[in-house]
């Protein structure tokens, strides 16, 4: 009897320890869910929640990267320790056409279906500071536009009238999300002390329309006709004559 009690006590203790550890870990997991703003994942990385269930933290992608762009997160980096990441301002992704990092990944956390590096979506470049961007002052810096591997597609220069001088044009760098791979070369090259254009993880860079929301003109295009009467006739209500 005493032996059985001892065994049961031991088991309860063990289960208790394990439960406690599990709880702590679970809370920690909740906390570290989102990727910090400065951290970008390698090309082909699955969305963050899935990535954390797939990446084995082996560093083979890091070894495959010829430009030493990628590194494994260390405890304290703010990125889940052991997972691969890069900061664009330090070393951006050079967008190798053969994508060696994806090929090296043994787990599929970097999706092998990514064959064309132009389709990578590591993040999205955003002009975060229009007040300091030189082009927004009417100067012709254009550096982000010039270094963009998808020049004229991912970043275009949009013409605008310069109100300050009244006679010049401004060339406003504009990022197009359907082409930007998030490689970070623009952020790396920005001539300011602190880059005015930054590559953010997609989650931080993009807004998201409510799922119930419909844009009338798009629905019309899809259906091939207007979904409601073209021009609604509203009854005219006048204040009653006294």
């Amino acid at each position: 009897m005493a032996a059985r009690r001892q065994i049961l006590q031991g088991m309860a203790g063990a289960a208790g320890c394990a439960a406690l550890a599990g709880l702590g870990l679970g809370l920690y997991a909740q906390q570290t869910r989102a990727l910090p703003v400065r951290a970008l994942r390698p090309p082909g990385a699955q969305p963050e929640e899935k990535f954390l269930g797939a990446c084995l933290r082996c560093g083979l992608c890091v070894r495959a990267c010829p430009y030493k762009t990628l590194r494994l997160a260390e405890l304290g980096d703010g990125v889940v320790s052991g997972t691969p990441w890069f900061t664009a301002r330090r070393i951006p992704c050079e967008m190798c056409p053969d994508i060696p990092c994806v090929k090296a990944c043994p787990s599929g956390a970097l999706e092998p279906s990514l064959q064309d590096i132009d389709r990578a979506r590591m993040g999205l470049a955003v002009i975060v500071d229009q007040e300091n961007c030189l082009n927004y002052q009417g100067l012709r810096c254009d550096v982000c536009y010039r270094v963009c591997p998808l020049i004229g597609k991912a970043i275009t220069l949009e013409l605008r009238h310069n109100e300050r001088t009244g006679k010049h044009a401004m060339f406003i760098p504009t990022v197009n999300s359907n082409h930007c791979t998030g490689c970070g070369k623009c952020e790396r090259a920005c001539v300011l002390e602190e880059a005015a254009i930054k590559v953010l993880p997609l989650k931080q860079a993009k807004g998201e329309l409510g799922r119930h929301y419909r844009l009338g003109w798009k629905e019309k295009e899809k259906a091939g006709r207007a979904l409601g009467p073209e021009a609604l006739e509203f009854p005219i209500r006048r204040p009653e004559q006294r």
């Binding site: 203790g13 063990a14 394990a18 870990l25 797939a54």
Partner: protein, 291 residues
């Protein structure tokens, strides 16, 4: 045991009698081989980043040897599968190769012959013996099995390989090869835990990775046998040196098989080393001979 004999077996130095009987080298044979294996494994991984000799790339979680042979830690892969990610072929193949190897060589041979944390916890155990620290808090040994279950359940519940965020084993190995950050603190915590809080706490009671490999090797072919148990002079040196002393009794003193059947045995061979009477030897699981 006479007083003279007892003096030969001081509790802090379980190898003393064996050194006197067999010489320094033979009393540390398996220990030396084991350290060689551990450091060689590490050196293979470090040769690339330190010297540019790329024989093995990656780390113990997953690696590529000579650009062809993929090897993956089956426990890490299992956690990924529990998290709901169907691993790519390379990781699955690598995990299968490792699983078959350790299923034969003794699952926890990984702990004793490869794992870098073993050096840390062995050092803590050695220091503990030297300083004469008594065991204080005793954890149930089954905690590791529960933790193993918890890590897999947590992966399934969160969809992330949560254990790998804190796993001291992969952190130490990764840290040595790719850079530590604050991970050294986790390793230090394991050392302090083993030294000051509870004897053999990490490898012997808590590590779910060890529990996994034990499970993997529960039918292992390579085992330690107390074949010459008749020569045993009850000096207890093997119990003092063994990281899992509970596994010795049934084989050494029981009437059934002389083979240490418990999956918790790490095949470290330290009992073979420290026995001045040469009671133990490596054997095949089915070898029932006793002399």
């Amino acid at each position: 045991m006479s007083r003279a004999e007892a003096a030969l077996h001081p509790p802090h130095a379980p190898a003393a009698a064996a050194v006197a009987a067999k010489g320094l080298l033979r009393a540390h044979r398996w220990l030396l081989l084991r350290r060689t294996s551990q450091f060689a494994a590490l050196a293979l991984f470090l040769a690339g980043p330190l010297a540019g000799i790329w024989i093995v790339k990656g780390n113990l979680a997953s690696s590529l040897t000579l650009e062809v042979l993929p090897l993956s830690d089956p426990y890490a892969v299992l956690q990924g599968l529990a998290a709901g990610h169907l691993m790519a072929a390379s990781a699955l193949t690598g995990a299968a190769i490792m699983a078959v190897f350790y299923a034969i060589a003794g699952g926890r041979a990984y702990c004793a012959w490869v794992c870098p944390v073993n050096v840390v916890t062995d050092t803590a155990a050695w220091l503990r013996r030297r300083l004469g620290l008594r065991p204080d808090i005793s954890l149930p040994r089954a905690t590791r099995q529960w933790l193993l279950g918890a890590t897999l359940a947590l992966a399934a519940a969160t969809g992330a390989i949560v254990w790998e965020w804190v796993n001291p084993v992969s952190m130490l190995h990764r840290g040595l090869i790719f850079g530590f950050g604050l991970a050294w603190a986790v390793v230090l915590a394991v050392f302090v835990l083993d030294l000051l809080v509870s004897a053999r706490a990490w490898c012997g009671h808590l590590c779910p990775m060890g529990a996994f490999y034990a499970l993997l090797g529960s039918g292992a072919l390579l085992r330690v046998s107390a074949r010459s148990s008749s020569r045993c002079d009850d000096c207890l040196d093997c119990y003092r040196a063994c990281p899992e002393p509970q596994v010795i009794q049934p084989a050494l003193k029981g009437l059934a098989s002389p083979v240490i059947g418990s999956a918790a045995c790490t095949n470290c061979g330290r009992c073979i080393d420290v026995c001045s009477q040469d009671v133990f030897r490596f054997a095949i699981r089915f070898d029932q001979r006793r002399d």
